[in-house]
Amino acid sequence: MYCELTERERAGIINPIFTCQPAGAQYASIGIKECIGIVHGGQGCVMFVRLLFSQHFKESFELASSSLHEDGAVFGALNRVEEAVDVLLMRYPDVKVIPIISTCATEVIGDDIDGVVRKLNAGLLKEKYKDREVHLIPVHTPSFVGSMVTGYDVAVRDFVKYFAKKTEPSAKINLITGWANPGDVRALKHLLAEMQVEANVLFEIETFDSPLMPSGNHVSHGETTIQELSDTANAAATFALNRYEGGKAAEYLRDKFDVPAIIGPSPIGIRNTDTFLKKLSEATGKPIPQSLVRERGIALDAITDVTHMFLADKKVALYGNPDLVISLTQFCLDMEMKPVLLLLGDDNAAYKNDPRLKELEENLDYKLEIVMNADLWELENRIKNEGLEVDLIMGHSKGRFISIDYNIPMVRIGFPVYDRAGMYRHPVVGYEGAMLLAENIANTWFADMEHKHNREPVLNVW
Amino acid sequence: MKETSKERVEQLVDVIMKKCLWQFHSRTWDREKQNENIILKTTQILCDEPVVKETPEEKCYWVDAVWLANAYKEKFPWVTEIDKEDLKQIMRELKERLDFLLITGSLNAELTDPLY
């Protein structure tokens, strides 16, 4: 067998690929309109996550903390959640949705956030805010379970679980994008528009790329409404593009409301986009229009220019969110490249049974190592000490020093990307995303050829 | 126009507040020590009296005092012009004023915290 599925053998993590669950819940919560999450834990759990978002998006997002201090850690800190909800509601009159996001500290001390939500519903909200629509949603995201990816998955499910109400059946679909960028959401909405399909988009974060306006809007917000979240129960189908980032919500809607769940593929690359459109067409009865045939053609035309001349047989190491890494791997293979190492950065047991990984195991004829529960040292150590040679690294900015120190070109992709400008605007999904991605890979490679004087004259003539 | 001695004290205070850091540590015991030693040595320098600077600690206070004395001489001509006894009186008032602003009249609740 050429394709090997292994796990990190070391106990510890050297240079993590992911942060922890509460960050994922926070990422989901900023996608909802009129929502400010309260993270129940130490202040760092919010302050740094807000910083991380602002590093990636160059925007500021609102998230609150219950500000757990010493006394709370000893005696319990639910009173601080109560106060936080009240303070937030008093000062932010538009806020309607408040997820209460737990952390390692408050899970260890056993603070009952479900209980405090019941208490607040029966007390504070009834008395002080009786004329106001307020939704408090407990989200359990202990940091010692899973990663930011599972935290996102859990939070999306909890939001859907809280809001979804069966009323009238709708022709709309649910589109759960997974951990996406504004550019991705734009590209996905474009595909849906071309297909004439309407959707409840979870989450509508195109607005994360917010403008500098004369009116001076000062924060960025997602725009998925309570109405859309409620309506998810009535949809014709749920498309959860990423198995591990929204899959749980799709399953919930299927099990509870019989909404068919179509989980995957992440429409990264030509083939995955084809599959997505095919499934979309099946679920909605809408044909794939000529406009998309043409768009696909433009992408294919562009990608053909760079594949067998430049990309063929280039060895790639990839790390990041599992659905992203796996889909990228598939696209790289279609582009004649050779992914040799995939790092999946948490201990999710489901990876072992992922059909996409199985397909790799069954069909590859060269060595590809897939490391689960990995850290970035799994990549660096192989390069530094074990003779791994790669032509290209694909991953987020936290791994940038591997590229710099070992002089390997790197395509920035995933979350977070803070050392290249504007990457959140560039989609990786759909035909447009495939084309941009292929061109980004090629351009990165070209720059490296020049930088290293590695056959760079061949770029003179096309 | 000649300033009152109160105005002169305020002039001297202002230099310390805007330009120095030695007076601002977090506990009363430190502030008392700093105010006392540095103002004493500054007074001695301004009055051309001998300054003890044998130990490292004394030397360190002396360094801040030299700087302060020079700053005073440079900024306020009256410092070198007035009678030494008058200057000493102003410096005593300066010390009192500093102690008030930074210690006895201070609103900083941390000054008396016995722990770090």
Binding site: R10, G12, I13, I14, P16, F18, T19, C20, I36, G41, G42, Q43, G44, M47, L51, S54, L63, A64, S65, S66, S67, L68, H69, E70, A73, E83, V85, V87, L88, M90, R91, T103, C104, A105, S143, F144, S210, L212, G216, K398 | M17, K18, L21, F24, H25, R27, D30, T55, P56, C60, Y61, D64, F100, G105, S106, L107, N108, A109, E110, Y116
Partner: protein
């Protein structure tokens, strides 16, 4: 009453004592904001936690150390690659971070065994590194792991390694400041006095409270070296673990950031009799005074004077070029803790700007005393500001630029106020003479950015100027400037390069013969 209650905070009246406006004739004894109190939950404060104060702010700048956090992965990840503290060993401590990866089973059964395994693995991965700091987190504190015991055990088994343990969980105190203190005290209690230094000069200092943001420490070290002074240790930017264990042998503690590092200096004074000299590395005048004071302590004032003369001659005309163009610009000085008082007075005097507001996210009342003392009348001082108060203050004060953190900077950008990164700088280093000019240049480029000016235009209703194809900063800044200044041949724009540190690395330092007859302060 000088206290200021923001409109947005009227519903949380306890905020009323956290802001003051410095009134005419008022002193610190009249009004001082409360400080370092528990944060109001849900207020969207900008504070971090005590873990980050210890690990991220003070601990990690130490350069030749494996920085391991005992807990779930998030604390480690979140405080990694988010600050610009460099080191001259190829930024080892910036590149590598370590988490013990605490999982549910460890919460239930304890994580000491896996901590030990973690320590051994990390040393194996980096065989050249023999020093480690282990940081407690909320999770490991709450389950009660005895990190000290594990560290001691490993040190017994691996005699060539040394481990420092910092127990500062995230919930320990109102802000990151709690962590600053804990790591100060832990270091002096555990590590100072356990190594004897190699002496290369008869004058030795500890440089305390300097974190080498974009190379600040290297700039200051350059001055000290030019004076023949050995920087025995720097706490902690670009600092070496073993050098810091030898802090007890210095003749003088030169203290720069008196909130995060004051306690260790006080203890060094109490325990080892090393005096403490408070200095300022920012601004020509404060820096000159500081260098002179340090030199005077050692009786080598002429060496400091030579540097001051040389640097001032080289850089003052450039500082003045910017000052002439920044005069009267309104600044909100909104950093984390110490910059408010480091900068409040000297940017006013040396860059000509007016500080209309200072704030501190995590500082204490002592920081506010300094900050308020050093700014002019009318300035608004805010303790533990929150999102809405920051907005309200910007609307009220209409600053021309704000100096703050990355994320609040994004808020400012959106309301079309240029921002500079006060924590990590734009084009630093900002310490030193040249650094100060770089700061002035960054302020200038921020305020007079043609793009910034375009952002003020509403093309749907404003008159759109169509008479020009471009503007330059100079076209904007020199509009109201006198001909004399405009055409001055004395003044000039910044002439340094992109990377100031490159020049420092090539410098050859003079050798000073030992000074006979100078009694060295005995320690």
């Amino acid at each position: 009453m000088p206290y200021h209650l923001f409109k947005c905070s009227e519903c949380i009246p306890e905020r009323g004592k956290h802001a003051v406006i410095k009134g005419p004739g008022e002193t610190l004894a009249d009004a001082l904001p409360l400080g370092y109190l528990n944060t109001i939950p849900g207020s969207i404060s900008e504070r971090g936690c005590a873990y980050c104060g210890a690990k991220h702010v003070i601990g990690t700048p130490m350069k030749d150390v494996i920085h391991m956090s005992h807990g779930p992965v998030g604390c480690t990840y979140d405080t990694w690659q988010t600050k610009r503290y460099l080191s001259d060993n190829d930024n080892f401590q910036l590149k590598y971070t370590y988490a013990t990866d605490m999982k549910e089973k460890h919460i239930i059964f304890g994580a000491e065994k896996m901590l030990k395994q973690n320590i051994i693995e990390a040393f194996e991965a980096f065989p050249a590194i023999k020093r480690m700091t282990i940081y407690q987190t909320c999770a490991s504190a709450l389950i009660g792991d005895d990190i000290n015991a594990v560290a001691n055990k490993v040190m017994k088994e691996m005699p060539d390694v040394d481990i420092f343990v910092c127990n500062s969980p995230g919930f320990g105190g109102p802000s990151q400041s709690g962590g600053h203190h804990k790591i100060n005290i832990a270091w002096i209690n555990q590590k100072v006095g356990t190594v004897e230094p190699e002496t290369t000069s008869e004058y030795m200092i500890n440089y305390v409270g300097e974190y080498n943001i974009q190379g600040d420490q290297e700039v200051m070290q350059d001055y000290f070296k030019r004076m023949g002074i050995q920087v025995l240790s720097t706490f902690t930017g670009n600092g070496s673990y073993d050098d810091l264990r030898a802090m007890h042998r210095a003749h003088l503690n030169v203290l720069e950031c008196a909130r995060s590092a004051e306690y260790i200096c006080n203890e060094l004074r109490v325990r080892y009799g090393i005096p403490r000299l408070d200095i300022d590395g920012f601004g020509f005048e404060p820096l000159s005074s500081s260098l002179k004071k340090v030199a005077m302590f050692f009786g080598i004032e002429e060496r400091a004077q030579a540097i001051i003369d040389e640097e001032t001659a080289r850089w003052k005309p450039e500082l003045e070029w910017y000052k002439a163009r920044l005069a009267g610009k309104k600044v909100c000085l909104w950093p984390g803790g110490s910059k408010l008082w480091h900068w409040a007075n000297c940017i006013h005097e040396e860059m000509g700007v007016d500080v209309v507001s200072v704030y501190t996210k995590f500082g204490h009342q002592g920081d506010m005393e300094k900050g308020i003392s050093r700014c002019e009348e009318g300035a608004l001082a805010i303790d533990d500001p929150n999102e809405l108060e920051g907005m309200e203050a910007m609307e009220m004060l209409e600053p021309d630029i704000i100096f703050t953190g990355k994320r609040p900077g994004e808020v400012a950008k959106k309301v079309r106020v240029p921002y500079l990164n006060a924590h990590a700088y734009h084009n630093g280093p900002w310490k030193g003479f040249e650094g100060w000019v770089r700061f002035a240049r960054d302020v200038y480029n921020g305020i007079y950015s043609p793009i910034h000016k375009l952002s003020l235009l509403d093309i749907s209703k404003d008159e759109i100027p169509v008479d020009r194809g471009f503007e330059t900063q100079r076209m904007l800044s020199d509009v109201h400037l006198s001909e004399e200044i405009k055409n001055s041949t004395e003044l000039r724009e910044y002439t340094g390069g992109y990377d100031l540190l490159k020049g420092l690395k090539e410098r050859v330092y003079p050798e000073f013969p030992p000074k006979a007859n100078v009694a060295l302060p005995a320690v």
